[in-house]
Symmetry: C2
Subunit: 307 residues, 2 copies
Amino acid sequence: MDQIKVFSPGTIANVSCGFDVLGLALETPGDVMVVKKIDAPLVQIIHLDAYNLPTDPEQNVAGKAALAIIDDLKLDYGFEITIDKGIHPGSGIGSSSASASGVVFAINQLLDTPLSEAQQMHYAMIGEYVASGSYHADNVAPALIGGIVLIRGYGPLDYLKIPVPNELWATVITPKIPIRTFDARRVLKSKVLLTDAIQQCGNLAGFIAGLYTANFGLISRSLVDVLIEPQRAVLIPEFYALKQAALEAGALGSGISGSGPSVFALCQGESKAIAVKTALNEVYQDLGIPYEINVSKINNQGVKILE
Amino acid sequence: MDQIKVFSPGTIANVSCGFDVLGLALETPGDVMVVKKIDAPLVQIIHLDAYNLPTDPEQNVAGKAALAIIDDLKLDYGFEITIDKGIHPGSGIGSSSASASGVVFAINQLLDTPLSEAQQMHYAMIGEYVASGSYHADNVAPALIGGIVLIRGYGPLDYLKIPVPNELWATVITPKIPIRTFDARRVLKSKVLLTDAIQQCGNLAGFIAGLYTANFGLISRSLVDVLIEPQRAVLIPEFYALKQAALEAGALGSGISGSGPSVFALCQGESKAIAVKTALNEVYQDLGIPYEINVSKINNQGVKILE
């Protein structure tokens, strides 16, 4: 096999109660990537989209990840990577992770899968670092393996796929305004109240237990973020109106996707997720801000081969 | 039925990564209580133990809980409560919760069980308040219903019994020195680092997932407390020596039980738990501090009827 085409999904990191430790994969949107072996041990990046992302492989998330693999595995050949981004960069649904994870998955396939799952995450994190400036797995892990993934800790990376109830859907509105992860991190205070940390712990534990038992009531009560959302909400136009509209339309919970500006809602069943889309649309339709809304089942597979 | 005898178990609250949100019940030690109907709507307390605890019902955890039930249910009779404490008061293994939970369970049985589980917890918390000065369920919930209980939040009380792997055992050393919950709370800083809160969240989520999947490796890696233990360890003589001895003897993890001074270790299997007992004993045997060590399977039942 000299060429492979993959779909790499967008992801929701944090998921309200799981700041920096939880992420989940979406069915849509995602990036479509074609990776082709080339004779020289270098990387060529072609972007089919109009986002004007860097094509210097060292500055490109997919390029950087590919270069790291070529280096470590001492390959005597390289890759041409054609990227058609379906995920708006800087939108808070794992745009950079999707490209980084997609290329690592694709190269691993082209090499007859020498890389373990954990090694693939390692290289995807190296790629994502180019965009976010930190090594985080809460987007790359769900992008690679799908589902809802808990990142217990780093050093070494300790992650676990949590079971996803079959009826769990997500609705995500993506305002097309830029928020850089770097800026979203900068607004966060370095200290939090112990009482808030305890509440967050209780909610995260409740969410995990709710997923294991498909207890939607518990999932709903647990989808609360007392630590981060109050600090970041100001970065997102009409955040609280979106959240309220989602909850009134029957969402289990709603919060900031990653570091924003996307706002997600989790729902029990497709029809609720569609009703939430309608409600979110009503909040944004007259604001004059470009946006898109995606409705998606939780993607339990992660990156998938198209051709 | 005019009289009932119950055993009410000691409990480990916090369980390292679950400060204020987790508690588990022990098979031993525990309190033995006899509750007998009497004609007048009042409460009489008899202590068979030598701990010199208050016998004024308003000042006694069991008495206060019983009075609250008599008041709310407008009973025209009362209870004589005979308590033989097997749990050293102020030892950090839920002494007050055991007495409060035991009496509430016993009275509910004498009344032909009119109280729901949540109502029983309500009254047990009212009793425990007398000793701790705060309404907490992380000891009373496991004492009442057994197992490992997550307290997601309060208002209203939201709790959930988490499955306990069959092989999970606890070893608990109780130095017989007093630490009042009030003092143990006072040493805690009101703010914590966000990075520490995230680590605690990851560990708690990992512990919950480990319990659902009986993954002892994950349980072990998750039994880490970065928030509270570093602040409270100073209150317990040789805490770090105890912890190190437990881990070297094969414990999954070790930490402060409740607000101390008891120190617990969780183990996979009885023989490991006994080996940990030996190791803890070696640390304490020449210190000149009175202590006891209990080895116990996790108690999945809670309060139980003896006669």
